[in-house]
Symmetry: C2
Subunit: 182 residues, 2 copies
DNA sequence: TGCATTATATATCAAACTGATATATAATAA
DNA sequence: TTATTATATATCAGTTTGATATATAATGCA
């Protein structure tokens, strides 16, 4: 396991808190991590097999019912591996916004089209922001319940602050386009 | 060319302004688009071949010197394809920040480590912000020279605004961690 | 009670992309 | 003269996405 695959580290990070199935890992990620780190089943399930093969996690079958439920648990080696990765410097922070890409080539389309891309972006942000604010409130209310909460709060604050800035930018961007229209 | 590959659209967007070699496309992207859309040679060169095969671009050899320089030009079909893509709604805007990922799992490391990830992020942003401010000034000064400039300005403004917010967030994040230290 | 839908759950795969590497020449700096 | 940097194309293993297939359990509703 010298390959330093990000998906392995994410999964180990989630397993460090509680044992989970692949399906639950995907759900946890879609709920909280998706704002800064996404993952698909196509990466999660093979990674879980790799983790077990390398001794960083163990697999056992769930017994509650007959369903094919496979529960994964982190091992001591897995915890060590996670800690080592956390200590390494960050390799890459990447933004991949198709909205900005289409706006960059705005001169090849008409102003209305560019404006509609900005508006769609604005609506998406306005729709997601309440969830971040809700999470922010919950974490602030129960900050002392768990030492992990302040770390979650830091990432949520990132989302709240950037999303508010995005909305300000939308206003400015629309203004730049409509002012030059006259 | 029904596959709707992003790299094809980016290249056509750049070629819509001027004819370029693969190397020049990579340089243009690293200079201006990298803040919201990256690309590697491993995607650029195969995409250029595909574009020629599909009649969306033409290829000719540069004659200035003996070097193996291949210059690509957009065709009318290429312009149509680009315009069609620009008219389609945005599929995905994605953030992938390893810094936030490591901070999210901050409870598994010590506070000093988490703080050092924030500081490294802060330094990287502080180093890049001047380039954005420079671009912002240049575009504002020559906004009327080219109708494309206002679109470039919009994307630069996004960078300037978000980067300033990032720096505010760094202060807040450090405060959350140090306040809980006492 | 029956039927449809949604949630749970695992698994695979083609297509896309990255990061690294290989190769070679031209221009510039020491 | 030599070393380094810039120009330029090309390929490939490894990683990830997005879609799809499959199957059962739970829930809603008529």
């Amino acid at each position: 396991m010298a390959n330093e695959k990000k998906i392995d580290c994410v999964i180990l990070g989630l397993l460090s808190h509680e044992e989970l199935t692949g399906y639950e890992i995907k759900k946890r990620m879609d709920k909280t991590l998706k704002y800064f780190w996404g993952a698909s089943y196509g990466s999660i399930y093979p990674a879980l097999s790799d983790l077990v093969n390398c001794g960083l996690a163990t697999k056992r079958e769930g017994t509650e019912n007959k369903r094919n439920k496979l529960i994964y648990t982190i091992t001591d080696a897995g915890r060590s591996y996670l800690k080592e990765w956390l200590a390494l410097p960050v390799q890459k922070d990447e933004l991949r916004y198709e909205t900005l890409l289409k706006l960059f080539f705005g001169n090849e389309q008409n102003t209305e089209q560019a404006l509609s891309h900005i508006k769609a972006f604005e609506e998406k942000i306005k729709k997601e922001l309440p969830y971040l604010l809700e999470a922010e409130k919950a974490l602030k209310d129960y900050l002392d319940e768990d030492t992990a909460h302040k770390y979650y709060l830091i990432t949520v604050e990132f989302g709240v602050k950037t999303y508010r800035t995005y909305l300000e930018w939308c206003e400015e961007a629309k203004k730049i386009l409509t002012d030059s229209e006259e």
